[in-house]
């Protein structure tokens, strides 16, 4: 089975965000594999263990993203690909998915797995865009995946409800929490990962025309939300506190 994973390197979820000159300051920040993409990597490895084949992890980023690709290889992926779009001006979801699709265009794909959203950008566009560009079916926010011969059985999370569906390969899925428990890289895994192939792909190596290289959206600026005013800690015994809270919610906040 030819298994591909779309991965993104993101800020650690513990990080505070600092904006400098309209850009998020990356200086000194810790980076991780996007948490939802970890489910995708884990599921890809489980699929390979069950069905054989090869897991290739793809990311779009700069050379720093090699670290997260090596982590994915240490978890058990076989190959990694780093698509570097640094020379493009302000790549957006459109250009990034065009680049990934261009790279995948001549590959024989059985399944592509991605996270359902990246916790930094929060848009959740790239995976579905890639599926459309490749002309394959998509199922998003999956929490269970079983492949039996030609049939793919999936459970997906739909705003808290579970939808049970059937489809076929080739397929792209995006992974939701609850799908699996991602493994930690083992020490032998980390040693092996150093020798696994990691390809660097530049824009010029992708067959993309001018139109595909031009972003469709533009970020004007980034900013922090205004700090919240200090709240009120209610005093008195429990009955007084509860009564005051009800009064405040009704008359001051007017939310009930």
């Amino acid at each position: 089975m030819n298994i591909y994973v779309l991965m993104k390197r993101t800020f650690d979820t513990e990080e505070k965000i600092i904006i400098r000159d309209g850009e998020v300051d990356k200086e000194g920040a810790e980076f991780i594999i996007n948490p939802y993409d970890e489910y995708a990597i884990e599921e890809a490895i489980v699929l390979r263990e069950a069905h054989g084949g090869e897991v290739t992890v793809i990311t779009v980023g700069d050379e720093d993203a090699q670290k997260e690709l090596r982590t994915a290889l240490a978890m058990g992926a076989d190959k990694a690909v780093l698509i570097n779009l640094e020379e493009l001006e302000g790549p957006d979801h459109f250009t990034i998915s065009e680049a990934i699709s261009s790279w995948l265009a001549d590959k024989d794909v059985d399944i592509i797995l991605g996270g359902n959203v990246a916790v930094d950008d929060g848009a959740g566009q790239v995976a579905s865009r890639v599926a459309e560009k490749l002309g394959i079916n998509q199922v998003t926010t999956i929490t269970e995946l079983t492949i039996e011969d030609e049939t793919v059985k999936i459970e997906r999370d739909v705003e808290g409800d579970i939808e049970k569906i059937e489809t076929t390969l080739p397929l792209l899925v995006t992974c939701q929490q609850g799908l699996n428990e991602p493994r930690y890289p083992s020490l032998p895994g980390i040693m092996k990962a150093k020798k696994k192939p990691l390809a660097n792909v530049g824009v010029n190596e992708l067959e993309m025309n001018e139109k595909e290289l031009t972003a469709k959206t533009k970020t004007i600026d980034r900013f922090l939300p205004p700090p919240k005013a200090k709240g009120k800690i209610l005093e008195g015994d429990i009955d007084q506190q509860v009564n005051e809270l009800v009064h405040l919610l009704k008359n001051e906040a007017k939310v009930i």
């Binding site: 916790v119 848009a123 579905s128 469709k216 004007i220 009930i256």
Partner: protein, 323 residues
């Protein structure tokens, strides 16, 4: 220039979802006197058409094909593509819901255009729409604009304000019959798992529990409070990891990002990942034993104490005035 805008209306349990009304309000900003066309698929499309018109849509297109009675990526993409090709709109507005999240990027790729996902605000600048959207789960924001081509946008529930209902408005409701074929997904079954008032992303009031609820049963008082308030029940990652509740209830950086009018956090300490998912709520109430808990930093009102003492009393008190 007048701009034609399409709004995909969403129907849930036979009713139009609020987010679809908010999407119409967004469309109204974009349109510059152009026409707003509501699009409704599946069962109940006819019943919801009038509501969209009362809330600002000028005309409605409905498709009641059986293939559209339940959402699949293929069926909705095909149907909406046929409408877009026929109508040539300037923009299409979706709710940033399970459907919108699945459909909008797929359609954007098919059209080769830009999409602004999860917009919380729109402003117009020289006829161009500028959208504000949360990044890093609400730890920061960005303003984005679409530079060329058809403009797709999905709006986050509970953020843009719906227009005032005007029952004197009327407009044509036209049926159309899109060609739908080669569906690759079959929906076998839908299992309803949401507890305590349903969908978190659209809830106006959320009562959420953390590790402090101590057990599955510990959510019971929270559910009772939510019921009295007509709200939904959520949870922190801690409560989900401890298996007190399902991950579908999780609010935070991994999990759902919510912006209700009232968020009551009970027994939640307020880790930065949780705050990212709820700190933009309009009013936050924190109930926690630990006065140093970081949840109090984002709370408008705080009570230091045991949630098992406070929550039932609060429920009883609210019952007096609300039920």
């Amino acid at each position: 220039m007048e701009k034609k805008v399409l709004v995909l209306g969403e129907i849930k349990d036979g009713n139009l979802r609020n987010v679809s009304l908010e999407a119409i309000a967004c469309a109204k900003q974009i349109r510059n006197d152009g026409e707003i066309t509501g699009v409704l698929f599946g069962n109940h499309a006819k019943d919801c058409a009038e509501t969209m018109i009362h809330y600002g849509a000028d005309r409605i297109l409905i498709a009641e094909n059986p293939e559209l009675s339940h959402y699949t990526t293929d069926a909705y993409t095909q149907a909406l593509m046929q409408i877009i090709n026929k109508e040539s709109p300037h923009a299409v507005v979706f709710g940033h819901t399970a459907k919108g999240k699945d459909l909008a990027p797929r359609l954007a790729a098919k059209l080769g255009v830009g999409l602004v996902s999860d917009a919380v605000e729109i402003e117009m600048n020289n006829g161009r729409a500028i959208y504000t959207r949360a990044i890093y789960s609400g730890k920061a924001f960005e303003r984005v604009t679409v530079t060329e081509g058809i403009e797709l946008v999905s709006v986050r529930p509970n953020n843009m304000k719906a227009l005032k209902k005007d029952t004197s408005r009327n407009g044509p409701v036209t049926a159309f019959d899109p060609e739908i074929k080669n569906l690759r997904t079959i929906v076998k079954e839908i299992v309803n798992k949401t507890r305590g008032g349903g969908d978190l992303s659209e809830a106006k009031i959320i009562v959420a529990g953390g590790r402090g609820v101590k057990s599955k049963e510990g959510f019971r008082p929270l559910e009772e409070l939510a019921e009295v308030l007509g709200g939904a029940v959520g949870a922190s990652r801690g409560a989900c990891d401890a298996e007190y509740c399902d991950y579908s209830m999780q609010i935070g950086q991994t999990g759902k990002v919510v912006t209700p009018d009232l968020y009551i956090a009970a027994g939640i300490s307020g880790a930065i990942q949780h705050l990212a998912g709820m700190s933009q709520s309009k009013i936050v109430v924190a109930i926690n034993k630990d006065p140093e808990a970081p949840i109090f930093d984002v709370a408008d009102y705080g009570i230091v104490g045991d949630l098992f003492d406070i929550v039932p009393k609060l429920t009883a008190e609210l019952k007096k005035i609300l039920v």
